[in-house]
């Protein structure tokens, strides 16, 4: 397995990163969280991102999704170069074309489940579509909990609302940063199955950070990060092979 120096984006690429760097200069010493990452994710695929803690996985996702500015490099989603959009345009683009699921704190505590779900429409000045809302709630198995507040949900239920919301506007790409990291493995697996089914149904692209080799094994491609750089990529690897690789990187 070799690391491509510069990825030429084929027409079927959903997300393309070219030599993306990110340096945090907040502390006394600058932290180089990403040191020249180039990556292409093809349309409709499921990509898993793995690597030791602090290797830059969250940073990579935030930057790729337009939540954070890279220090340098190019990021193209679909056919839009988001590194050159102004903040307003970027936000609007993100709202319509990109979904994001955090590890936790995805929901506004004072909005009910269905209101949280309607946020993307409200923000876009659109009238929420009740049929679509019902469909999404059914897809994540929460049709009975539409009126609950986030504090009245279990951790797994809250994450399922976040998934439903990320799917709401039918974005081209969904980024998920350890969406089940805070859950037990059984609940996590069922939620991930929900997410994968939904993504497959709507032919969306999924990029997900995970620590679970089992989950990664189901991905079309696994990207291994270490110390802010892509050190390996694997397609069709088994869970055992992936565990092995992660263990090596952790050392």
């Amino acid at each position: 397995m070799s690391i491509p120096a510069n990825v030429q984006a084929p027409p079927t690429t959903a997300v393309a990163l070219t030599d993306v760097r990110k340096t945090y200069a907040t502390g006394p010493q600058p932290v180089h969280a990403l040191r020249g990452v180039s990556l292409a994710v093809s349309k409709g695929s499921f990509t898993a991102v793995m690597g030791p803690s602090g290797s830059g996985k969250s940073t990579l996702l935030n930057v790729a999704a337009g939540l954070d500015q890279p220090s340098s490099g190019r990021i193209v989603i679909g056919d839009t170069d988001i590194s050159h959009l102004n903040p307003e345009k970027l936000t609007t683009f993100r709202r319509r074309r990109v979904g994001f699921i955090f590890q936790s704190y995805n929901l506004l505590p004072h909005l009910s489940v269905s209101e949280n779900l309607r946020l993307p429409w409200w923000l876009d000045n659109q009238t929420p579509d009740p049929a679509r809302e019902q469909e999404l709630l059914r897809a994540v198995g929460l049709q009975d909990m539409a009126h609950r507040l986030p504090t009245e949900l279990s951790g797994g239920q809250a994450q399922r609302v976040a998934i439903a919301r990320a799917l709401a506007t039918q974005p081209d790409v969904i980024f998920a940063d350890e969406p089940t990291g805070a859950l037990d493995s059984h609940t996590g697996a069922s939620i991930l199955a929900t997410l994968r089914d939904a993504v497959a149904t709507y032919r969306q692209t999924l990029v997900m950070v995970t620590h679970d080799p089992q989950v990664a094994a189901a991905a079309d491609e696994v990207v291994f990060l270490a110390d802010g750089a892509v050190v390996d990529r694997a397609a069709g690897a088994s869970a055992a092979q992936i565990s092995q690789r992660v263990l090596e990187l952790g050392r």
């Binding site: 935030n62 307003e88 709202r95 590890q103 506004l108 909005l111 946020l119 923000l123 000045n125």
Partner: protein, 628 residues
């Protein structure tokens, strides 16, 4: 988006209610001042106390109230929005544009403000009514006075407060909109550690402004009133508020290195909290510091002014005995006293009410006309070269004669820019007007009043009052003169007693000014307590986490206690420090010798109030250990 606003208000009602209350009180204060000022200006008799004193008294109260209100309202909004930073960051992450977050915040701020303005105006009109008995007792309004309530004060309040609220919302929104959406996910959002360059610049500007305000009275002697002192204190406090987070960070870092603070979990946590939440702590300290500062400055400067007046009056009089009595006896008294053996010289004085034209207006509206006249009094000397020395700096008192010559005090601000040879416009109680020429400028205005005229200066123009005869005795003859005068039916008092009585008279409305000051201090106290309670309530999650980690309630109480002590100490220290320049400036500019003018008991009361509020705010914490 309206749903989001409404739900947010419902969820954050305690802090919204706190801000609302602060805004209601602020609008009530300004509205009530406005109502009383307008009522005074509408009074038909321009020489009645209602017309002359009410607008002046309420104007200076209103001025300080406005400065305070702007300050307190904007910091209340800023604090309540800062607590919801994470929520706004999440909205950004979900795809809200900076503009959407801004308009969400503006809608909320303006909604609360408008509602508070209406409620505050109603409360303010009751407040103005409640003040009437006191105003009447102090002689500031006549019997039967009733405030006139119109829409003007409400418009004025809106014009003053709404932009301040809007701006506070804007500034907070700017900070929120700049937040990176990813900051929503970082579970604990500590305050940013650095100040924006704009904020640092603003802090320096306020510091410079405060210094300018402080040194003004030194270069422009006499130009010191309560308002100047208050504005210098307020500018310093604003500088502290702006630079506060950086100062708190320094202080807390220093504290954290002390061995004493590292001994117990509670003190370690308290100093760490101060460091991590430097903005939150600043927001708690500043209103309390303002309480101490403004209270000290207002009372201190007023006392200094009174003391300076007494000093000037004492210096001006070179006699040693004084007669006071009814106007019709004055001429006889003067004659009798002048004829007594042992009397070296006598001088008789009278005063008359006038109005001085402040600026030329060609406006016909009676309202505007009233604003351009300032009430004052003229001191009339029967012998300008006699026993009263106003300390002439320009011109000559010898030229004071008849109704066409006047001397003015150098510190009379209403006549700034006029000098010897210029004319001033006067209006008299009988309705006549005159335009005497300035023939001299004198320095002892605080003791003698702003205008002096010669014998017969205003005889034609209505009643004169408080006739006084100053007597100078030959050395060793004072007792003999006293007895002789008594025998002639004239009671004389020593000059020192007269000066003391005259100064006590001038502060006879001190009950009113004390009440007004208390109203202002209560306003700051409520706003400060409110801010503290909101800040403590918003930390429920933090307390819950500490509880889950095994902190006992005792430890958390101790931590809160140490934090409250830090807040109280910082507030008293900063409040005192920011008051000092104004007090020292007033003292240097006006009085001989050095006095701060601050009543130690009053200062201790203010400090105690700050301590009590700081601890009461911390006591409201809900330490229930529950899972989120």
């Amino acid at each position: 988006m309206r749903q989001v606003s409404l739900r947010a208000l419902r969820a954050h009602w305690p802090s919204a209610a706190g801000v609302f209350l602060t805004m209601v009180l602020a609008s009530a204060l300004i509205f009530a001042s406005g109502v009383l000022i307008e009522s005074g200006l509408r009074e038909s008799d321009p020489f009645s106390p209602t017309a002359t004193m009410l607008p002046a008294v309420m104007g200076s109260f209103g001025g300080v109230a406005i400065m305070l209100a702007l300050f307190v309202v904007s910091s209340a909004f800023a604090a309540s929005l800062r607590d919801r930073r994470r929520e706004f960051a999440l909205l950004r992450a979900v795809g809200a544009t900076g503009g959407q977050v801004r308009s969400l915040i503006s809608t909320e701020v303006m909604g609360i403000s408008l509602a508070a303005l209406v409620v505050g105006s109603v409360a303010g009109s009751f407040g103005a009514g409640a003040l009437v008995p006191l105003l009447r007792a102090s002689g500031i309004v006549e019997e039967g006075f009733a405030p006139v309530v119109s829409v003007l004060p409400m418009l004025g309040t809106a014009v003053l407060l709404l932009p301040a609220a809007w701006l506070a919302g804007r500034l907070a929104a700017r900070e929120m909109a700049r937040l990176s959406p990813t900051s929503a996910v970082s579970t604990t959002a500590a305050d940013a550690r650095t100040l924006s360059p704009g904020r640092v610049t603003a802090a320096w500007v306020c510091l410079a402004g405060g210094l300018t305000a402080t040194t003004t009275p030194i270069f422009v002697p006499g130009a010191m009133g309560g308002a100047t002192g208050a504005s210098s204190a307020l500018l310093f406090i604003t500088a502290v508020a702006l630079a506060g987070p950086a100062l708190v960070l320094r202080g807390a870092t220093w504290l954290a290195e002390r061995r004493m603070m590292r001994a117990r979990a509670a003190s370690v946590l308290a100093t760490a909290n101060a460091r991590g939440y430097s903005r939150r702590l600043t927001a708690a300290v500043v209103p309390l510091a303002l309480l101490v500062s403004l209270g000290s400055v207002q009372t201190g400067v007023n006392r200094t002014v009174a003391e300076a007046g007494a000093q000037q009056l004492g210096d001006a009089i070179s006699g040693d005995l004084v007669w006071q009595g009814a106007p019709e006896q004055a001429a006889d008294a003067r004659e009798t006293l002048a004829g007594l053996t042992g009397v070296a010289a006598v001088t008789a004085t009278e005063t008359a009410m006038v109005q001085v034209k402040v600026e030329a207006t060609d406006e016909d509206a009676p309202f505007m006309d009233r604003l351009s006249w300032e009430a004052g009094s003229v001191l009339m000397l029967d012998d300008p070269s006699g026993l009263i020395d106003p300390d002439v700096t320009e011109g000559d008192l010898a030229a004071l004669e008849g109704a066409d010559a006047v001397a003015v005090a150098s510190d009379d601000l209403t006549l700034t820019g006029k000098g010897v040879g210029d004319r001033i416009d006067l209006r008299h109680p009988d309705g006549s007007e005159s335009t005497p020429t300035i023939v001299a400028v004198f320095d002892r205005g605080l003791g003698l009043g702003g205008l002096i005229m010669g014998p017969d200066g205003l005889d034609a123009a209505g009643a004169t009052e408080s006739p006084t005869v100053i007597v100078e005795t030959a050395s060793g003859e004072q007792n003999a003169v006293l007895q002789a005068a008594e025998a002639a039916g004239l009671a004389l008092t020593p000059v020192d007693d007269y000066v003391e009585a005259a100064t006590a008279m001038s502060s006879s409305d001190s009950r009113l000014s004390n009440v007004l000051l208390m109203v202002l201090l209560a306003f700051i106290g409520i706003a400060a307590g409110n801010a503290l309670v909101i800040a403590t309530r918003s930390r429920a999650g933090e307390f819950a986490l500490l509880g889950r980690l095994g902190a006992t309630r005792r430890q958390m109480r101790a931590m809160l206690g140490i934090e409250a002590a830090l807040v109280a100490v910082a507030a008293v220290a900063l409040g005192t420090l920011t008051a000092l320049p104004g007090l020292v400036g007033a003292s240097l500019a006006m009085v001989r010798g050095f006095s701060l003018g601050v009543d130690p008991m009053f200062w201790a009361g203010l400090a105690a109030a700050a301590v009590v509020i700081a601890f009461a705010g911390a006591a409201g914490a809900r330490l229930r250990v529950r899972a989120d």
